[in-house]
Subunit: 182 residues, 2 copies
Amino acid sequence: MIDQETVNSLFDMTYGLYVVSAADGGKLNGQLTNTVFQVTAEPPRMAVAIHKNNHTHSLIAASRAYSVCTLAEGTPMTVIGLWGFRSGRDLNKFAKVRHEAGVTGSPLVLDNTISCFEVNVKQTVDVGTHTLFIGDIVKGKLLAQGKPLTYDYYYHVMKGKTPRNATTFKPPEQTAGKTEQK
Amino acid sequence: MIDQETVNSLFDMTYGLYVVSAADGGKLNGQLTNTVFQVTAEPPRMAVAIHKNNHTHSLIAASRAYSVCTLAEGTPMTVIGLWGFRSGRDLNKFAKVRHEAGVTGSPLVLDNTISCFEVNVKQTVDVGTHTLFIGDIVKGKLLAQGKPLTYDYYYHVMKGKTPRNATTFKPPEQTAGKTEQK
């Protein structure tokens, strides 16, 4: 357990908001995340932390690939809700979302995104509740002009809440937020 | 090798700018980084990617702890230069910087920062040129009001360059930037 000052110090960190997606055996799913990070430049290598309970975790573990699509500032809260607060086990999140298959087979989200790239997984690291999927960046695609949506904008301007399985989730007594599972 | 469109898609990612520091046997060092991210919420657990050639890498590997201090928007370019473009093997970066020892012994940077937190390393992951140091967050400290410096602000407003050993380093033909080692 950490104290409130420590929690607040973590709030000074800067994150973007992304949809991480994967496909396996005809099943597609994607989820909201803020923890996608480049870990080396040569070769260009990426890491994402995904909660073990999430449907997207199963698909990435099976396909050994994923896509990361950067959400645009101006993305409606209903779209954030779809990616961050619904589970792909209960509905097909891609049913009403424009998408196409990338070079890895992972779906690229074409609505409310400014760019996507894909990753072939080379390492998986168990970090507790989450797995880090680390791999090589294979192809990126530019989709639209626009500013990336940041977690700061989502939290302070859109007054958004944090999904329960986020790496940065804060329990309701600290956020006063209703949360649902992905 | 990735193509230019892929490089550009990675530019849509959002990062903050931090000083990651450690201490071992009376030696202190810190370096600029943008790749610090929380990997789990329960317990609160952090990861940072550090280039194996950097002096800070040796100190974290020896002490098994580090601090992360969030730089403030408005940090002078000379300060960025100290943390990001000089090597702690050549000079004592802390000689003219206000600092104090944190609970882990890692130095907390008190100039041009808004908050710090410390991490006890539990896992190290070799990801190629860099090591991921993953560990538990033990204590944070709020230092000043202010906005965090983002990589976007540094790059587009301050026209800053990327240190050679950064995870997101782009070679000179892509950035037209002079770079030095940390």
